[in-house]
């Protein structure tokens, strides 16, 4: 089961989906494009735990984290 985690004012919202299900995968890709199009940054982790920014949808990613872009405070 793959997961998309979106940071929000509640902490985060999680969307779990079966990456082997074509319809669920398509929905996950649509969500990825919508969020990154809205300015969110997508990141996943390597096997050793290091974060990697994802510019395009990765159907093999087990976990993708989305957070709003960062600006000077």
């Amino acid at each position: 089961m793959a997961t998309q985690i979106i940071m929000d004012h509640n902490g985060d919202t999680r969307h779990n989906f079966d990456a082997k299900d074509a319809k669920a995968l398509s929905e996950a890709e649509r969500r990825f494009k919508a969020l990154t199009g809205a300015g969110f940054i997508a990141a996943s982790r390597t096997a050793s735990g290091e974060p990697v920014v994802k510019r395009t949808f990765d159907p093999t990613a087990e976990e993708t984290l989305f957070f709003p872009r960062l600006v000077g405070g």
């Binding site: 985690i5 990141a43 290091e50 957070f67 960062l70 600006v71 000077g72 405070g73």
Partner: protein
Amino acid sequence: MVFVALLHDANGQLQRLLAALSHLARAFRDWYQRPSTSQLRGLKLLREWLSQEQLAQYDAHKYFDVIGCHSSKRYRIHHGNGANVIELDDAALPRTGWCFVPTDHLVAGDVMLAQKIALETDERGVLAAANNFTPR
């Protein structure tokens, strides 16, 4: 004698009352300062993404260090929602403070995680957007 006994009894009752009020005040403070569900969720997510070393550091000190992906400089991310990133020099002393935050309002755990990922994956980009300050 009777007056002294009454005074002693009143003093005892007053001490018990003060102890009870003090207990109530502590309970109220703990209740008021309790982390919200959102804050707990943010901290849980942060903990999932920190390296073992960073997690141990955070548990011990409420901050953790990250290495910038471009300069290999060390940054210390303190628990907080803003003005909480300090660039360290080679002696691990504060050199420059950096302030950068997500565009949306997020809980502290989420803010710290976003800052960590940004410095570890796009150090130059995030510092170009950040404001700096002199750390105390």
